[in-house]
């Protein structure tokens, strides 16, 4: 992971002239103070522009590149941001020319890759962004969390499973096979009173059918079935006549079925061509479906809150964003409607092709089975011609659909098919009449009827098994996709919940550090319904959501801050630096301190850059973080010269060192001595006279020295013999300091003498190891002494 070493901007936002900001080789943390409108956010803007190629708060307001160049930058002035990351040759520069063209130079490909990776990370938090996530709707929160960890792929995977399964259920071959299966079941019930699901069952039914004839052969398998049929045909006076009657009965049944099939086909064909040809004639609209993926992805880009450009993201042409969003949504809705129509037409086409195949099989059986019946020569010839005609129709239909062209049946097709239908109708009547003319006995009629029933049932069972195989193979896939989809929804939610749990662990802990012993605890992110995520917390022990229900603005801000920090710590892979720009506006003093301690304890190895316009907050940071090696700068605006950066001393001693020889430091020395004495008196529980409120803070140094001496006289008399106390007691300098009305200033070497005295005093009561005071309430066991917190430094102390 990386941190920042150096930032330099020039002619960028508030910085007219080169503004360097050095974090040193130790990539130190930094606090920057600047009054409102002093231009301190220029630093944040520079980092954001360098990494993201945009500055979100500006882009949102339609202030883009033109807002980045300093207003007084000349044509030849380069608006530049240079950033140096930790590591060797890890730097780059981004410039914006006077004609607002951006150019970027990286030291090498590694830096380029690093900056690309940083784009996805959580680096900058501004006050305006803190509660943005909290106010998102549940669905958007879920998407935001999913986006953080790249879960878009999961959503896509789930969608493919669901869409494919839905499409599979609607495929014509499947729905056609189911419909055919139902028809066959109905036909079987009509013929033999029950559904005969397979060949084995058929053989059982066949035995029942032939049972009345008392055959010698019992049907148990295919061989006995064929033998029984031979035996059956041999009953009566003429096997030939029975065979002829059976054949005619079959022919009549086939012709009647064919007539019904052709009627169904004509109806299906009319429905298909009516709907399909409308689409084919609007081919341009259907062709646009190829753009649907592109538009869907484009919509995802322009619909996110972060996209605010009034330009097409593809061609960069100027375009009103709201209008572009409306146009894309309208085009996608139109495409969804066309896709629906196309899917429906495909279903009709598949069903139609299935029907043609069925008719073709029957016609072929007529042409082959009855070619020896001279009385039906015309029917057989027509059947042969009809096969060719149907093949042509089938091929034409497939070709037209694939090419999305208007489909027209072959010339004369409808007339020829209608003529063939009439021929089937006539042949069925004739076959029945011819069978009647054979003069069969009652037994022979029964035999012929049984044979015809067996033949018809056998065909129905064969067709049923075939349809069932198609259904089975489809349903195996459908059930598999359904099961996978349902399981994946569970896996997806579990994966997301794991993420939420991980974030929640840090969010809850961080929040607790900011707000200990308050009525709000157990803060976490949780799934709401199937598509939502929401913050949940215990409020007086009761699980509660959403955050705005009971939390104050300050608590909401805390929640936003800790969520950002948790996400950064968990998910940042490259950036180990954070920019916190004016984020504590609604925090009170104690919560500000707690935030600093949270940063100190949990982000001690991170580089933190804090920008603030609040002096008190800046002083707290100085006081708490100077000892941890932080840098401090103040930024001020110098009118036409733009913003300037100055070092900001972290301690009074640094201030005095900086001002020495240039300005009067008497007041600073007095404040330093008072501060040192206050801290010592506090730690040693030195008793002073009671005073109300602020007056209590305004203790003079001589009062505190006197009371400190008094306490030491009782508790640690040997310590009082230390030279520093007599030096302090007799110091004319101190007398000078404690008198506010004394016009004399402390100057020159006297400053050094006084600073040395203060240092000696501090050294007596502060541990060199832990830097903390020795305290009256930390007694050393078994010794008449007190110690600091680490115990390494002690002073004698009577109890």
């Amino acid at each position: 992971m990386t941190k920042l070493r150096h930032l330099q901007l020039s002619a960028f936002r508030g910085a007219r002239f080169p503004l360097p900001l050095d974090f040193g080789s130790k990539t130190k943390s930094l606090a920057v103070f600047g009054e409102n409108a002093s231009g301190k956010s220029t630093i944040t803007d520079a980092i954001e522009w360098f990494i993201q190629d945009r500055v979100d708060h500006l882009w949102r307001e339609d202030c883009k590149q033109e807002a980045l160049r300093h207003i007084l930058a000349g044509v030849d002035d380069s608006c530049t941001v240079e950033l140096r990351f930790d590591g060797q040759d890890n730097h780059g520069a981004k410039s914006l020319s006077a004609d607002l063209k951006t150019s970027t130079n990286f030291a090498n490909d590694n830096t380029r890759a690093l900056v690309d990776a940083l784009k996805e990370e959580r680096i900058i938090l501004r006050h305006a962004d803190i509660v943005k996530f909290l106010d998102e709707r549940k669905g958007n929160k879920r998407k935001a969390i999913a986006d953080i960890i790249g879960y878009e792929e999961i959503t896509q995977f789930r969608d493919v499973l669901q869409q494919s399964n839905n499409a599979l259920k609607k495929e014509g071959a499947y729905t056609g096979a189911k419909s055919f299966s139902e028809t066959l079941q109905s036909d079987m019930v009509g013929l033999v009173g029950q559904v005969v699901p397979d060949r084995q069952s058929f053989l059982g039914i066949a035995q029942d059918i032939v049972a009345p004839f008392d055959l010698k052969t019992a049907i148990t398998d295919e061989a006995s079935f064929n033998k029984a049929l031979e035996e059956l045909r041999g009953l009566g006076n003429s096997a030939e006549k029975i065979k002829a009657a059976e054949q005619l009965a079959q022919l009549a049944a086939t012709c009647e079925t064919l007539k019904a099939d052709i009627d169904r086909f004509l109806a299906e064909a009319a429905t298909f061509t009516d709907s399909y040809n409308v689409l084919a004639r609007e081919r341009e609209s259907v062709d646009k479906l190829r753009l649907s993926d592109f538009l869907t992805k484009g919509q995802a880009v322009i619909d996110v809150d972060t996209y605010t450009d009034d330009a097409c993201p593809f061609c960069l042409s100027p375009f009103d964003l709201a209008k572009l969003q409306r146009d894309v949504a309208a085009r996608l809705a139109e495409m969804a409607e066309i896709q629906g129509k196309l899917d429906a037409a495909k279903g009709l086409k598949d069903t139609l092709l299935q029907t043609i195949s069925g008719i073709g099989t029957r016609i072929k059986s007529i042409a082959e089975t009855y070619k020896d019946l001279s009385d039906y020569k015309t029917l057989v010839e027509s059947a042969t011609a009809a096969i060719i005609l149907l093949r042509t129709y089938y091929k034409g239909l497939v070709d037209a659909f694939d090419a999305l062209t208007v489909f027209e049946p072959p010339e004369g097709f409808n007339d020829a098919l209608s003529a063939f239908r009439s021929q089937c109708e006539g042949s069925a009547v004739k076959a029945k009449e011819d069978a009647g003319k054979l003069g069969l006995t009652e037994l022979e009629k029964k035999v012929a009827n049984a044979l015809s029933t067996l033949e018809t049932l056998g065909r129905q069972v064969r067709d049923f098994e075939r349809a069932q195989r198609i259904i089975d193979v489809y349903e195996a896939q459908i059930l598999t996709l359904s099961a996978i989809f349902e399981r994946f929804v569970t896996v997806q939610n579990a994966a997301l919940q794991a993420v939420l749990d991980t974030i929640s662990a840090d969010v809850g802990r961080f929040y607790q550090k900011l707000h200990p012993k308050e009525s709000v605890d157990d803060v976490r992110l949780t799934m709401v319904g199937e598509e939502g995520v929401e913050f949940e917390y215990s409020f007086h022990g009761t699980p509660t959501q959403p955050p705005r229900k009971y939390l104050s603005e300050s608590h909401l801000n805390s929640l936003g801050v800790v969520l950002f920090l948790a996400n950064a710590r968990i998910f940042n892979k490259k950036a180990k630096f954070l920019v916190l720009d004016d984020i504590v506006t609604s925090f009170d003093t104690s919560h500000r301190r707690r935030l600093l301690r949270l940063l100190r304890d949990e982000f001690s190895d991170w580089q933190i850059i804090i920008l603030t316009h609040e002096n008190i907050w800046f002083d707290i940071i100085k006081k708490e973080m100077a000892q941890h090696g932080w840098l401090f700068h103040e930024v001020r605006s110098d009118d036409a010269n733009g913003i300037l950066l100055e070092n900001s001393p972290a301690t009074l001693k640094e201030i005095i060192e900086q001002k020495k020889g240039k300005e009067d430091v008497t007041n600073d020395l007095r404040k330093l001595l008072e501060l040192v004495l206050k801290n010592i008196c506090h730690a040693l529980e030195v008793k002073v006279a009671f005073r109300f409120n602020d007056i209590n803070e305004k203790r003079m140094a001589d009062e505190m020295i006197s009371q400190l001496r008094s306490t030491l006289k009782d508790k640690s008399p040997d310590l009082l013999k230390t030279q520093i106390f007599s030096d302090l007691a007799g110091s004319a300098l101190i007398a000078n300091l404690v008198s506010h009305d004394n016009p004399d200033k402390i100057v020159g070497a006297d400053i050094d003498v006084l600073l040395e005295d203060i240092e000696k005093l501090v050294a007596l009561f502060i541990c060199k190891d832990c830097g903390r005071h020795m305290r009256a309430d930390i007694s050393v066991p078994g010794a008449k002494a007190i110690s600091c917190k680490c115990g390494k430094s002690q002073i004698p102390w009577k109890t």
Binding site: I149, Q477, A495
Partner: protein, 69 residues
């Protein structure tokens, strides 16, 4: 807290498909079709439906040959 408990989207899907490939109650040709298309970066509705159609044809062709045999 670290990210060790957090799987990437690719890891979640890969682990899930591995688990499904062990489930004998599922039609494994379909699981395999999804896995292969995903590994090629071609897992779309259209491509999956095409592959499933090929699988169905193969199964039905096999059945038909078995019937003839």
């Amino acid at each position: 807290m670290t990210t060790k408990n957090i799987l990437s989207a690719a890891e979640v899907i890969s682990a899930f498909l591995d688990e499904q490939s062990q489930d004998k109650d599922l039609e494994q040709a379909s699981v395999s079709a999804i896995t292969k298309l995903r590994s090629k970066g071609k897992l779309t509705r259209t491509n999956l439906l095409r592959q499933l159609e090929e699988d169905r044809k193969a199964v039905l062709k096999g059945d038909a040959q078995q019937d003839k045999g």
